[in-house]
């Protein structure tokens, strides 16, 4: 590492460095996922829920019960079941969901994009508004703006999201009629486009179905704002404290001594340093939203991953739970990777 800086990132060293890094990442991803599968798998088998019973019902004759049990492979030793599961999982086969009868992979391909769409928009709103608000609060410390931002942050922490969701539906949907009701898109538009990515905004836009696109926008705007508000509350608070820390540093005074404008001092000097820890904060908050926010998805009838996993769990649909957990695990590891890379980009000391 140090030597690659010294010789200006010379080709051979740099290549070896990136190869090692990639190998390391693959190893971390593999072990994390393996651990995750193992834990989830064994918990799923140990819990006193009988998946066979969940399928055949409690009045099925013993012969049927035994046959289903054998078909599911539940009569095999636990470790063998795990091995079979792993071998299939590697090929992308996570078994079928009992609840929907679809392959779990298909269900996830349907639900995850919905969550992804909502979480991404929510994080964008939270970041684009939260960072400037936090910066403003730090710069005008103790002022009315600061009090206001801190209040917003506190409210975001303490108000239950489902309550705020219901209230916003009551106001903007029931009373004012500014937004359509729950769901991702109106039924009339849902046949105007072919789902490719299952990210409705992307599908409709790529197929030029602008009416459908705008309908989807009007559907997503309220839940996205709601999630955005909660991530804003967190991000603005963290931005404020990181910025207060940076603004007290000597290099900020040095920047003022140089005669730079206050805008430049704040946004280019202080924020660029505060951005380093902020990356982690934003990545974590995004990861949390990608996990699927069950309450928001329930209130807005949003067919996302959070709802899917919760439903499956309540119905002892362990294949679905396992598949969903793996997706979330992968998301976390990937986001960690992205924030690591951003760290490197933003902070020369970590290179």
């Amino acid at each position: 590492m140090a030597s690659s800086i010294a010789n200006g990132g010379g080709g051979h060293d740099a290549l070896r460095f990136y190869l090692t890094k990639t190998a390391q990442f693959v190893f971390v991803l593999a072990t994390t996922l393996l651990g995750l599968v193992a834990v989830t798998f064994f918990i799923g088998r140990i819990v006193p829920i009988d998946p066979v019973l969940a399928i055949v019902g409690d009045r099925a004759p013993p012969a049927v019960y035994a046959r289903v049990r054998q078909e599911l492979g539940l009569d095999l030793p636990l470790i063998q079941q795990f091995w079979i599961y792993l071998r299939k999982a590697v090929t992308g086969d996570f078994g079928n969901s009992v609840l929907t009868t679809n392959p779990v992979m298909t269900d996830i391909a349907n639900t995850f994009p919905a969550t992804f769409e909502l979480a991404t928009l929510g994080t964008l709103i939270g970041t684009l508004i939260g960072i400037p608000l936090g910066v403003l609060a730090a710069v005008k410390r103790g002022s009315l703006i600061d009090q206001f931002v801190r209040f917003i942050g506190l409210a975001g922490y303490s108000i239950p999201i489902f309550w705020l969701g219901l209230m916003s539906l009551l106001l903007f949907y029931a009373k004012l009629g500014w937004v359509p009701g729950p769901g991702r898109i109106d039924v009339t538009y849902s046949y105007l486009y072919t789902p490719v990515t299952n990210i409705v905004l992307l599908d409709t836009a790529m197929q030029g179905q602008w009416d459908a696109f705008w309908d989807a926008v009007s559907h997503i705007i309220l839940p996205a704002c709601l999630l955005g508000y909660f991530s804003l509350a967190y991000i603005s608070r963290m931005t404020r404290s990181f910025m207060l820390n940076e603004l007290a540093q000597e290099y900020v005074i040095a920047a003022r001594v140089k005669g730079l404008s206050e805008m430049r001092v704040i946004w280019r000097h202080a924020l660029r340093n505060a951005a380093v820890p902020l990356v982690t904060v934003i990545a974590l908050s995004y990861a949390n939203l990608l996990e699927g926010s069950v309450l928001t998805e329930t209130v807005f009838a949003w067919p996302g991953l959070g709802q899917y996993i919760t439903n499956s769990l309540q119905n002892a649909d362990m294949n679905a739970v396992l598949g969903g957990t793996l997706v979330i695990g992968t998301v976390f590891v990937l986001l960690n990777l992205v924030s690591d890379l951003l760290y490197r980009l933003l902070d020369p000391r970590t290179r």
Partner: protein
């Protein structure tokens, strides 16, 4: 004496805190031409706050008042924010104590020098780059090209402080405030940095305010010395006449200095008279 570059009369810096008001600088007055003025004093004597008040960089909740605070005839108290900003960096500059903290860790040294230059000179990037490289050479960097693209954490303390000097002098200011510029460096490096500072100040005929707690260093480096105690100037004298100091505080400080010739054990300590602080 020619027209003074900086006039300070009855400068006061107060901090209004919840627990009461603290007056860090209590009526400091002096004039400065294109000469070297040393300000010595112990921690908390108000020497750094004097320097920052001149630059208009007293941290909140500080309040600065003065009968007169003028640079080159421009009243700094009534000047617009814009004028003040043009003065800062452009005509008055400051070298700070520790380059580890006073350089922005996520910007290359070159970038930071260019930024200082372009804040005051309307030039293209190429010209600013040439100027920055020339400045790095002026502070005796062995390989200016390389240092230009390094980040502050990649250089030593001495190099960092030289980069800081380059950054603060790139605009050819008329007055440089050096606030303990060598306190964070070890002795040999600090001599080297001082030599460079000395050379640049003489070459450009700048005024210099050298703030330090090191009486000997200040007296060897400056023409005139202000001794500060508890926010006041207790004594002002020519550096070469330091031995003739009248104020008991200065005399006390002088006595505390170890010398090679007369080995005194134990070294005398300073007996403070509460009346000095009045």
């Amino acid at each position: 004496m020619m027209k003074p570059l900086l006039e300070v009369e009855d400068l006061r810096v107060r901090f209004h805190l919840r627990t009461g008001t603290i007056e860090a600088v209590r009526g400091v007055s002096f004039q400065l031409g294109r000469e070297r003025l040393g300000i010595v004093g112990e921690s908390g004597s108000g020497k750094s706050q004097t320097g920052r008040a001149i630059l208009g960089l007293t941290p909140p909740p500080g309040e600065v008042t003065a009968k007169r605070l003028a640079f080159d005839g421009i009243d700094l108290q009534t000047a617009s924010k814009r004028t003040l900003r043009e003065m800062r960096g452009g005509r008055i500059s400051m070298v700070m104590q520790d380059p580890k903290y006073s350089l922005n860790p996520v910007m290359t040294i070159g970038e930071q020098i260019i930024e200082a230059y372009q804040a005051h000179a309307k030039t293209g990037r190429a010209e600013a780059r040439d100027k920055a490289l020339a400045m790095l050479e002026a502070v005796k960097m062995r390989d200016p090209q390389r240092v230009f693209s390094l980040y502050p954490h990649e250089v030593s303390g001495g190099m960092g402080q030289r980069a800081m000097i380059a950054m603060m002098l790139v605009t050819d200011p008329d007055l440089l405030i050096a606030d303990e510029p060598t306190s964070a460096l070890d002795v040999t490096v600090s001599m080297e940095v001082l030599r460079i500072l000395d050379e640049l100040v003489s070459e450009r005929g700048m005024g210099l305010i050298f703030i330090s707690h090191d009486l000997k260093l200040v007296s060897s480096f400056c023409d005139r010395v202000l001794v500060m105690y508890a926010g006041r100037v207790v004594e002002e004298l020519e550096a070469k006449n330091l031995r003739e100091a009248k104020h008991p505080y200065t005399q006390g400080l002088m006595r505390c200095l170890p010398t090679l010739a007369n080995d005194v054990h134990p070294l005398p300590t300073l007996n403070r008279d509460p009346s000095w602080a009045l």
